[in-house]
């Protein structure tokens, strides 16, 4: 008896260790996959929350700014507009375009509606979202575009880390780093600059901010620009990460980013990051551990559960 037990125990231990190692590889891989998606969703969620904070407006056109970011970037890289730019200038160009688009939308459509009922602004954003998507269809056609790494630097797809079965590409590292960097930059901007102080003031009480001399319209325009930059960056990174862009990509991303913002608590920036992260991780782990096709709905089920428990969102303000 005593002789038999030890080898059996060893075998069991070894097989458990193997299972643990194998499953931890999958776990880590899904964690990375989910963190990348989460970072992208967090950027869009931040755009929603920033604009909501200062303008009390849910801007559904963020999905389309995301779309334009990706399309303009790749068009500049591939010479669609007649000029071929290298990676850096194309990135700057696309981001600048998104910022301008954000400001333009605010000045032309939302400023006249500042004192109108909230629903008027909301309907306008939905209308703009449809118009912008169709504009993209007119410019680039309905075909989804797939590219094979030729447009982005080759090292992006190479593994940055490879151990056991775990593979982390440079691209995943860059997206996670860029998301973290953007968040840090945003934090600095909001808490260490005059503009940031004005933004916080407007989001707390617009009338009081105006009374103490804050130029509310300029602040709101600035926030629209920043939000558009975040959404555009997310689109650019998502397009490169998946090496495919299509005129339909903005819609799903916009909805998921909005849901992430709501789960985190609309208007709260840490909440937006938290919501985005949850959204990405649930999606990756859902697809990784639960057999599809149910995992697509899992993100939204999780959100409903969270909202049932905390109706104001995870980091929402108490109303």
């Amino acid at each position: 008896m005593g002789k038999c037990r030890r080898p059996a125990a060893t075998v069991v231990f070894h097989s458990m260790l193997h299972a643990l190692l194998a499953s931890s590889t999958l776990f880590l891989q899904q964690l990375i996959n989910g963190a990348v998606l989460g970072g992208l969703y967090a950027l869009i969620a931040l755009a929603y929350s920033l604009v909501y904070g200062v303008a009390r407006l849910v801007n559904f056109a963020h999905g389309e700014i995301y779309l334009f970011g990706a399309f303009i970037f790749l068009s500049l890289l591939s010479g669609f507009f007649g000029v071929v730019l290298s990676f850096g200038p194309a990135l700057l160009g696309a981001v600048a375009f998104c910022a301008l688009l954000g400001v333009l939308l605010d000045k032309v459509f939302f400023r006249p509606l500042r004192r109108a009922p909230a629903l008027a602004g909301l309907m306008t954003t939905i209308g703009l979202s449809v118009i912008l998507q169709n504009l993209a269809l007119l410019i680039w056609g309905s075909r989804s575009r797939i590219f094979f790494g030729a447009l982005v630097p080759a090292f992006f797809a190479r593994p940055a880390l490879q151990s056991g079965g775990l593979v982390v590409s440079w691209f995943q590292v860059i997206i996670i780093a860029a998301t973290a960097g953007t968040l840090a930059g945003l934090q600095l901007l909001l808490y260490r600059t005059r503009f940031g102080r004005a933004v916080r003031a407007v989001s707390q009480d617009r009338t009081a901010a105006a009374l103490v001399g804050v130029n509310v319209d300029r602040v709101v325009s600035g926030v629209f620009a920043i939000a558009a930059i975040l959404a555009g960056l997310a689109g650019i990174m998502a397009g490169c990460y998946c090496s495919a862009i299509s005129p339909a990509m903005g819609y799903t991303a916009g909805i998921k980013g909005f849901s992430a913002a709501v789960v985190g608590g609309l208007g709260s920036l840490p909440g937006a990051v938290l919501g985005g992260g949850i959204c990405g991780l649930v999606e990756a782990f859902g697809a990784g551990y639960i057999s599809s096709p149910y995992h697509e709905g899992l993100v939204f089920v999780t959100m409903i559960v969270i909202l049932l428990l905390k109706p104001g969102g995870l980091a929402g303000r108490k109303s």
Binding site: Q29, G34, F148, P159, A238, C242, E283, S291
Partner: protein, 374 residues
């Protein structure tokens, strides 16, 4: 778009030409000529045009010249139904060649059935097409046959034991997956995982990481080329080395542009280097006429137009007689001789045709060394 203008031009010319000649017989050919799947339509247009030109140099249909009338359905069910209504109500239309996408064919089918108008699809593989209408014929195999063939091929010719499936969440992907899985069970081929890909998804790393852990011999991509191309690239990025394969939905030049698709194999109804003298002849004539290699859409449309013309010639310009003549082609001995083998129909209007396997090697399609015939 440039390639589209000649088609438009033809469309505009047609009524004039028909009125002028008086005695031409029009054969409508419906395909996606614009929209996201317009690349499918190019082969259809060329194949139909080549057949019509050859028919006309040989005296047309009983002395009357043939005019192909191209219609665009964009692979969109609503547009397809609108085109079908127009054709069904035209007294000068006795047979239709089309549509290409299964969803478009299924939308047009009830309209043709109600009007008693026979049709031949050169490309729709959804099993329902044959079951829903006795006068909708096809000279392409259907997905139940194709899925089962793939299972037999990977198990018998490739000796794979464990396969994972990633299927597109549409009629085509679902049908293929079910047929493959059913045949796999009979053959003892193990399906280690089955994952779906929603329509707009472009990131498949989560599903792939899971499949990588299960370490299958191969992954079956039951869907269309755009998603499949992304899947193979992302799989290579995750360090996956296994073989990928799919059905005719992956038979697209897009796969050739993707360096990660090396070794991927697909089923196809037509291979230029397989088959007899008729195939070689056809490929030669097609190359000379268009300066291109014929794809399977071109080959099947060439045959479908030939079959339609033969039916009109033998049965006369009458929808009922044309239907009856086609339905009477029911055995290898009583068949229309197409370039890719004899064409004859079962009770559903479905046809048994050989399936070939080809693979991507150095950015070109080459026929697989180990073909498997039923």
């Amino acid at each position: 778009m440039k390639k589209f203008f000649p088609v438009l031009f033809l469309l505009l010319l047609f009524p004039v030409a028909a009125a002028g000649a008086g005695k031409t017989i029009g054969i409508p050919v419906v395909a996606p000529l614009s929209g996201p799947l317009a690349s499918f339509g190019q082969g259809v247009v060329n194949g139909a045009r080549l057949k019509a030109e050859e028919l006309n140099t040989n005296g047309g249909i009983n002395g009357r010249p043939v005019a192909i009338r191209f219609e665009d359905d964009r692979c969109d069910p609503q547009t397809a139904a609108a085109v079908a209504v127009r054709l069904a109500s035209d007294p000068d239309v006795f047979i239709v060649v089309g549509h290409v996408c299964s969803s478009a064919t299924l939308a047009a089918l009830p309209i043709y059935r109600a009007a008693g108008l026979p049709a031949i699809t050169p490309a729709s593989t959804n099993p329902a097409v044959g079951r829903l209408s006795a006068i909708y014929f096809r000279n392409v195999y259907q997905d139940e046959f194709q899925g089962a063939f793939l299972a037999r091929y990977v198990s018998r010719a490739r000796h794979y034991k464990r396969v994972a499936i990633l299927f597109a969440a549409n009629d085509y992907g679902l049908g293929l997956k079910d047929a493959f899985a059913a045949a796999a069970r009979r053959l003892g081929l193990q399906i280690v995982d089955c994952e779906s890909c929603p329509a707009e998804r472009t990131d498949f790393r989560a599903q792939l990481a899971k499949i990588r852990d299960l370490n299958p011999d191969a992954v079956f991509l039951a869907g269309y080329a755009p998603q499949a191309s992304l899947i193979v690239s992302q799989a290579r990025g995750l360090g996956m080395k296994c073989v990928f394969f799919g059905a005719d939905g992956l038979d697209d030049a897009l796969m050739l542009k993707n360096p990660d698709a090396e070794g991927l194999f697909v089923t196809t109804p037509f291979l230029a280097d397989r088959g007899g003298a008729m195939v070689r002849d056809f490929v030669e004539r097609y190359r000379r006429r268009f300066g291109l290699e014929p794809d399977w859409f071109a080959a099947n449309t060439y045959d479908a137009v030939g079959l339609a013309a033969a039916a009109l010639a033998r049965a006369g310009c009458d929808r009922g007689k044309v239907s009856a003549w086609l339905a009477a082609l029911d055995s290898p001995g009583n068949a229309y001789q197409g370039i890719a083998g004899p064409i004859y129909f079962d009770a559903h209007g479905d046809c048994l045709k050989p399936i070939f396997v080809k693979l991507v090697r150095h950015g070109r399609w080459v026929s697989a060394a180990d073909q498997l015939q039923p």
